[in-house]
Subunit: 253 residues, 2 copies
DNA sequence: CGTGTTATTGAAGAACGTCAAGCGGGGTGG
DNA sequence: CCACCCCGCTTGACGTTCTTCAATAACACG
């Protein structure tokens, strides 16, 4: 679980905040706290409530009225869109500190489901928007995050539209590794299932499995069901269709 | 050209503004004007400069330093990302009133190229950010737009990851039609080339051409090189893999 | 320890890509 | 004004990649 523990520490610099109001809800330590000034923290406390999610539990579904926004405080959730016949596209994996449900419409546009035991901090949407009105630095923070998410989504469009199966898997692994900022060769955890990976990369589980197997045969990586280690990072980058200095992924947060 | 003319009128309600400062640069009439109060308009005037683009001209390239932001005032631009071997993914087509170059990083993450004779209104980035600091309603407007663009990008991820060629083309045509809010059966313009469409939908020109031809054989649409008319909207929606009431696309603006 | 779920592996098939040839429109230059 | 050429679009034949279908293996859970 060392890998996951690191995955969760997305915005470590924000955890320095020792303000008394920051203790109750971990979310405040993770992101919002740094953005809102001390004056707003009491109001934030009043707004927040924590919620636990078992693996597979859905926080909200595509089409639900969007009445709350959330911050992930533990674990990992996937966001996905579905089609009537069951095809799915995973939009992203949200980790600690990420906002959920920020779509500025009346309805949620994807489903949010826990891929491992997780918890979130919930805010009433309307109250949250009012807070936004009063706290420009929070609004700037949200804008910054939304804008980063947009850049990530656009990078993923390139992957989904133009990359081969091998390139997709290689990009995915490098992206995870970069997000964890791990030294090469150190194994890290994949909390999501093969089927989630397939739905994220626009492939089938079989293709994911076969491609990972071929990477292992080529000694690019080593892996077990929920663990991966990068053995030859340079060659893996090459397999991802990236230049040396290229951006394997823009970390989501 | 009737179709294009309508394509350009994305935010018609904003054109009501009769403030003297709104006359010079069309951008102010299209979007920003409504967001910033009259007090900020003189500053906006001072910041702006207009720029013409011939078809095929690039406004900025992936990797360039991001020193300005732009608003499209005439025509249409495509945003795309490239891979070293020449593969491309078109991220989106930007029409009048859309912002360009808002990536909150030091570098542009895609190339912007005119698909038809176009013009943009340029703002020095730093000045623009300062303006953002002083004008909360403008910041809110930008947040709203960014958030909408994110939703569009996520919808496109579903298309690129999970839809068949027919579904992609059908979705694309319906999306354009919805954006123009045309009555069915009325022909409208496709300013972009087949190759741009292919790069937008993650296909090849040949597949785009063949699929359009098959739609015409099935009498779903009629088309000419740069004109399309929807003949059987219900069946086209079905071909797009959408439910009756479903969202063919969230208009970009 | 058994059972359901998830992952792997193989073989056959389909969808889309690649290669190649032909068409047609628009622009240029004679 | 016409002929030519270039470029974008279309259409056909063939290949490749990925999916689909199916069987087996490995794990997680009670």
């Amino acid at each position: 679980m060392a890998g996951v523990a690191q995955l969760l520490r997305v915005r470590p610099q924000a955890s320095d905040c020792a303000h008394p109001h920051c203790v109750g809800c971990e979310a405040r330590r993770m992101g919002i706290c740094a953005a809102v000034g001390p004056g707003f923290l009491p109001r934030l406390s009043a707004l927040a409530s924590e919620q636990q999610l078992a693996t597979g539990a859905t926080l909200f579904e595509e089409g639900d009225a969007a009445e709350s926004v959330y911050i992930v405080t533990h674990g990992m959730l996937k966001l996905y869109k579905g089609m009537v016949d069951g095809r799915r596209q995973v939009i992203g994996f949200m980790v600690v500190g990420d906002f959920l449900g920020l779509a500025f419409g009346r309805l949620h546009l994807c489903t949010a489901e826990a891929v491992m035991p997780s918890s979130v901090c919930r805010f009433r949407r309307q109250k949250f928007v009012e807070l936004l009105d009063e706290c420009p630095s929070l609004e700037r923070e949200i804008l910054h995050r939304t804008s980063t998410e947009l850049a990530v989504a656009q990078e993923q469009m390139l992957l989904l539209g133009r990359k081969t199966a091998s390139e997709r898997l290689a990009s995915f692994i490098l992206c995870l590794a970069r997000r964890l900022r791990l030294p090469d060769d150190q194994p890290f955890e994949l909390p999501m299932s093969r089927s989630d990976i397939a739905d994220y990369l626009g492939l089938t589980v079989e293709t994911v499995s076969r491609t990972l197997a071929s990477f292992r045969r080529a000694a690019l990586i080593d892996f077990d069901r929920h663990t991966v280690a990068i053995r030859r990072p340079r060659q893996l980058q090459h397999a991802a269709g990236l230049t040396e200095g290229g951006s394997p992924c823009l970390a989501l947060s």
